[in-house]
Symmetry: C2
Subunit: 399 residues, 2 copies
DNA sequence: ACAGCTCGGGTAATCGATTACACGCGACCA
DNA sequence: TGGTCGCGTGTAATCGATTACCCGAGCTGT
């Protein structure tokens, strides 16, 4: 493979000149053409490894996600990649497989490869390696999953309003024995979702006792199934279940199906994360949709702020309830999707619970851990149209 | 961040010694301990950029996939990553978004970063960049999607037997007006699936006329929906549709649903690629499952052969039909999944069509492009158990 | 006791780029 | 006409590792 020296010789100049031409540090026309000709003839491409060594910049960002086979993360990664590419960075995706140890391996590898910054959707509770990385000054931004006691900006969705809507939904449909399947104990995300759900139910006089709170060990279908089994074996089984992750919901559905039960007749089911298949399940699933692509975009911007040395704040974007038929009537799923694009975008979205005194008002700052960690929406992108993202399936040009 | 010089000073030795100790080129105990102590105290980690520059090896493999939001690719990537990691390589995933141009961008970036080898699931027809890469001698292996006229090993699934089973299935159920939704014209995968399906139907006297062959422009749900609309607007609409990709199937289901039609009553639907949600759709979908994880593993091994300079052969692993209820009776979906793990593994799998003279016999080599491109299964891994992979959902330890 | 061999470890070249510094040449001004 | 300024370009240091080569000390054999 040709290197800069070959180009220099061929063009009859020094390597310095070649470098300068290629980096636009020398806008001279004379030698410039000779150099460019030589580059073209040799098919020369600069060696990014050498460049990175010299400049101490790789032009790559790292993204650690919990699970590559989880459609939520996959969409997140897709959005992050798009944004990173459009800003001239390439993205290295690391898959933790929900294992903190594997996550640590990846963090180390990425740091060793001198990525310019790191986005982490942390598996488990934050590991020591993660804390060291933050302490070492590596530009770091948390994505989707906050980590207690880690003073680093975090970009994630705020589910409070959506959970309030859900509580209203349950109340309106007479579901009074809800249950929740949450992420492993100790994770901030699981704890938050549980707490907000409980708080949202209270105004309706609906209880969420501990026996109807099931933590999975693994954030996988198996775990969801196991928890659902426990619920169904209860003397008084729940009449509505919220699975706080789509994979756990999958396992829960397996168990429901295996017992010959029907949704929503025997049990209502609601899922966190909205994936395209939920419209086609039996029945179509009511879901809490996170603004996945916006989260990805915001995370990249936040990380770039850090990389460029500016202070960056946390970002919190609202999630929303997408009612379908898995909680029972009345949600008639209005004559399904006739227009081609952007059909789902018109799904009923309520910004505040319609008929109830929901506690979404004043004291927004509920956690004391991170000072800047409130409603601050630092979303900087100027895209005013929110449509095409919450849309049916993310479409891609080429047609 | 500490470098090798700092370590050398602290240990009172030269950088050469440090390097030797760290690379095991010097099994001496005396200085060794001092060096290791210094490494530990400083928290030193070798700079892989510098190392890569010197050794001309990065220890990274590249994987280009068609679409990150496609669960088939996602599972493939997951498998490739697992295998690469277990062999000491890290993986850089590039998402082409089914755009050949974006794919070319990625290829170039990866080559510039001097990855040790490249796995490509090519979007569109093979691009010039891809051909140049192969010609330049970069270790290259194609994955899932073959590219005509590119003399490079390819690891993919053989759908012939599964399609033969499907033809038998259709014949047995009296479906005599099949249709097929295929990938964009020009792609080898689309052409193959179409041809094999047609050939498989012939023995039953079932025709597959061109009007019931729909190519999507984009391999996305939108395209699938558009094609399905065309089919349903036909004077004689099909009574069975095979979507050769899960995303296109999703779009097809959108259209079916929008028209208020029912599967399988009004139309049978079969999907290429088996994703976990297909068991929960309405109705559960009959699918053609590819041995995704095995493909990923085999691809990594094949690539390593190339990297180490050995010749490598193409790999062809059989796909299989997983009958569910989307073609009508009789496939009663035997009392769904009672045992917890590995339930789907027991689904009826027929290696050869049960009751018909299917043309799967002698002339296996149907394409003349690549000499070594036959049934050769070069799968080298010694894992004898095939179980846990074709299983319900891929489970991951941690519990 | 001395030649020769082994072996640990230091010196310095090297990978392929970027970039500070210096130099030469032409132009401009006094 | 001579000095200075500026511009374009070359020389060489540098990034952080690996590794060929060489040197010196200690051990062995005769």
């Amino acid at each position: 493979m040709a290197n800069i020296k070959d180009v220099a010789e061929r063009a009859g100049v020094s390597v310095a000149t070649v470098s300068r031409v290629l980096n636009g540090h020398s806008p001279v026309a004379a030698t410039r053409d000779r150099v460019l000709a030589a580059v073209a003839e040799l098919g020369y491409r600069p060696n990014s490894v050498a460049r990175a060594l010299r400049t101490a910049r790789t032009g790559a960002l790292g993204l650690l996600i919990g699970d590559l086979t989880n459609p939520f993360f996959t969409e997140l990664a897709d959005a992050v990649e798009d944004e990173a590419r459009s800003l001239g960075y390439s993205l290295v995706i690391g898959n933790a497989g929900e294992s903190p140890q594997q996550q640590d391996d990846h963090i180390r590898t990425l740091i060793d490869r001198r990525i310019d910054g790191l986005l982490v959707s942390s598996a488990g509770t934050g590991s020591p390696v993660l804390r060291e990385t933050a302490a070492a000054g590596t530009p770091l931004v948390l994505l989707d999953r906050a980590v207690d006691g880690l003073d680093v900006p975090c970009v994630r969705a705020d589910g409070r309003a959506a959970l309030a809507d859900l509580a209203a939904h349950f109340a309106a449909l007479g579901r009074r024995r809800p249950a929740i399947i949450v992420a492993p104990a100790g994770t901030r995300t699981g704890a938050d979702r549980l707490r907000f759900f409980r708080e949202a139910l209270r105004p309706y006089g609906i209880e969420l006792p501990d026996e109807r709170v099931g933590a999975t060990p693994d954030l996988q279908p198996t775990g969801g199934r196991r928890v659902m089994r426990g619920f169904l074996d209860l003397p008084e089984p729940p009449d509505a279940v919220l699975a706080t992750d789509n994979l756990m919901a999958l396992g829960a559905m397996d168990e429901i199906r295996a017992r010959g039960l029907r949704v929503p007749d025997d049990l209502a089911l609601v899922v966190y994360d909205d994936v395209p298949w939920f419209r086609h399940t039996d029945p179509p699933l009511t879901a809490i949709a996170q603004p996945t692509r916006e989260l990805g975009r915001a995370a990249v911007h936040t990380l770039l702020e850090r990389i460029e040395g500016r202070p960056a704040e946390s970002v919190l974007l609202p999630a929303r309830l997408v009612p379908r038929r898995s909680c029972g009537e009345p949600v008639p799923e209005h004559a399904p999707h006739t227009p081609e694009p952007a059909d789902e975008a018109r799904a009923p979205v309520r910004e505040h619970a319609p008929h109830a005194p929901v506690p979404t008002d004043a004291p927004r700052t509920t956690d004391g851990s991170n000072g800047s960690d409130t409603d601050t929406n630092t979303n900087t992108n100027t895209n005013s149209d929110t449509e095409s993202d919450t849309d049916t399936h993310n479409e891609r040009g080429s047609a």
